[in-house]
Each structure stands twice: as structure tokens, then as C-alpha cells.
Symmetry: C2
Subunit: 173 residues, 2 copies
DNA sequence: TGCGAACGAGCAACTGTTGCGAATACGGTC
DNA sequence: GACCGTATTCGCAACAGTTGCTCGTTCGCA
């Protein structure tokens, strides 16, 4: 998403007002790669903006999403996560600590075309989520990978092939 | 997932009991391609099992998921959806009516990965969701495809059309 | 500086899900 | 077929995340 100043202008341009609360959130979100929940943002915002209401956080996030400056996603049960990176990218989700990382995946194009062929379904967006254990959790769990309850089981990882994948972020959010 | 009889045996084998409520749910889930929510299943179950508790539905679904007979997923805000098809497959999600269809995607191997490329992230599962408009909704929306506001509100009930989702299922669930 | 519209805070309401406890039913055994 | 121990059902309360509502406040254009 754009920087706080640009967002302020954008807000005014649509008739939305720019308040200290909103500015605080703009700043917190700018270049934030942690995919925070509303609650997490509220907590963080409370530092610079004591007394800010959770309600206000939800409101502002909702505005940002509506303006296309923020991406909202429901990666798992529980709270929604927000991603200021609105580029075309995908996610790594840790089953243990719920951390999320952006990942840039090439080669989905062919897959998308194929899927579009399915019974007239018109694909608007393609979400790809890799679930597993992040590096930190892999260390901690250390050989005890099965302490992790496979409660919400998803697709088994197919045959491991490798191709163009970048975890680095070439574009600014 | 396996058929009701097999599930009954499987349940007994782990020390779980087989009750009429559970059997009703086994039957409802078997070969069910509609990716129902707990609530939807409760509603359906109430037909053959009047008075069945929503609590029991959740309990049984949870057992099935733990046993790997059922897949639970959080495709969007709102309730979890359950998929008796535990094969390796992916999903088409209609943004408008929230219907879900299974889709078998080839060529994902080209995208699936070994841990190294993810900086130590160990991939356990790969979830691919195509979001867009199903054939029925494309028809209904007809040219007015943009009546669908691409905004936030992931799960506004709106007025979902209730069409039957015929699962393209080449494999046994 | 003034005014009207937009906003923020706080709380209630709402949805989806889970915890708890008492009564009940399954199912192995006699 | 009856018995008994234990899992199960059910209803309700509790809980988390999110949204609706309302009133006093603030922004921002003039």
C-alpha cells in the first residue's frame, strides 16, 4: 500500500477524513510484513495512540480494503489478517505459530487457465497458501514434528518438484 | 471419506461409539460435494434426526477431521466448510453465492516446492483456491458482473442462489 | 471562525464455535 | 437378554471476532 501521506490524500480525495487515529494506522501498516490481525494492530496502535478504539481500527481497515490499499484474508479459523502488500503474491502459513510470510510464485498462469475451463467458472483471483512449519518452529519442534496436531488437514503436499519461487519481495507494498 | 459402514467400524476401532446421530451425519457427508458448513449439516441432519443438537454435529465433525476422514477449511470469513473428499485437490469458490467446487489441478507440481526455497519453511500442504464467479452466478449477474463489489465484506449473506453443486469427482472421497 | 458532515468511543448485539455438567445410550460381557 | 462402565448427547453458558448504534467530538472547507 502507499505511504501514509499518499493515503491521507487518497482518503481526502474520496471524502474521508484524516484523523490522528487513521494516520497512526497508516504508519503501522506501511511496509508491515507481519500480516497483523485487527487485534494486533489495535495493540500496536495503542502505543502511539492510547485509548484508540478497536472499533476504529476495524473501521479504518475496512476503508483501506475497500480502497484496494489493503488486502484482507482469512487464512485459518480465528481473526482475519491484513496485508499491505497488494501485489500479486502468495503466502506461507505456519501451522504452529500462525505467522505468515509473503512468497512470490511463478508458473501459476498455466494452472489458472486450466481451472478457468472448469464448467464456466470465471476466475477472478488465485490464492495459493503453503501450510507447514516455519523455520523457527521447525527448530523448536525439532524432530517432534508430530506434536503438531494435524487437526485442520489440507491437501497433502504432492510430489516435491521445484521451480521458480522467490521469497524476496521485488516490489514495494 | 469412507462409506457409513466403514466409518462406523473405524469409530468403534478407536473406541468411539456409533450413535444414530453419527450415522446420520456419516450418511449426509458420504459423497457430499457441497462443502457444507456445520450449520448446513445440522439443518440437513435435523430432517432425518429431529432434535439433533448442533453441538453434536460439531463434535462428530471434529472427530472425523481428527481421523482424517474429513477435511475442514476456512475459505472465507464466516463458518468453516467441510469436505469429505480428502484426496489431493483444490477449490473453486464463488464470491457471490459462496458455493465451493472441487477441482483437480494438474501442473501444480511445477509450483510445489522443497523447503530450501522457502528459507527453511517446511511445506506440509498446499492449498489452492480460485475465487471468482461460478457459472450460475455469471449467468444471473449477466453483464452486470460488476454489481459484485470487490470490497471487503467477504461474507455478506446477500441473497445466495441455492443451486446444486455437482461435484466433478473422479476419485472416491 | 463557523458549520455540517464525518468520525471515534463505548457498548450492545450478533455469528460461529467450544466448555461444561447431568442425563442417556452404546456395546462388550455375563 | 440384562448389566455396567464409559463415551455421548444435549442444552446452555461462555467465548472470540466482528459489526451496529448512538452521541459527543473533530475535521476541513468556506
Amino acid at each position: 500500500m502507499r505511504n501514509p501521506d499518499e493515503l491521507a490524500s487518497a482518503f481526502r480525495a474520496v471524502g474521508l477524513k484524516v484523523t490522528p487515529q487513521r494516520l497512526a494506522l497508516f504508519r503501522l501498516l506501511h511496509d508491515n510484513g507481519s500480516h497483523p490481525s485487527a487485534e494486533a494492530l489495535h495493540l500496536a496502535a495503542s502505543a502511539s495512540m492510547p485509548g484508540i478504539s478497536l472499533r476504529t481500527v476495524y473501521q479504518t481497515l475496512s476503508d483501506l480494503v475497500a480502497m484496494g490499499e489493503l488486502r484482507q484474508m482469512q487464512l485459518c479459523a480465528g481473526s482475519a489478517r491484513f496485508d499491505p502488500n497488494v501485489d500479486d503474491h502468495h503466502h506461507l502459513l505456519c501451522d504452529r505459530c500462525q505467522s505468515v510470510r509473503d512468497v512470490y510464485v511463478d508458473g501459476l498462469g498455466a494452472v489458472t487457465v486450466d481451472a478457468a475451463a472448469f464448467g464456466g467458472f470465471r476466475v477472478r483471483a488465485t490464492d495459493l497458501v503453503f501450510r507447514g512449519l516455519c523455520a523457527e518452529c521447525t527448530e523448536c519442534a525439532d524432530g517432534a514434528a508430530d506434536t503438531l496436531d494435524p487437526s485442520i488437514r489440507a491437501t497433502r503436499p504432492g510430489s516435491p518438484h521445484h521451480h521458480h519461487i522467490t521469497t524476496t519481495k521485488e516490489a514495494t507494498s
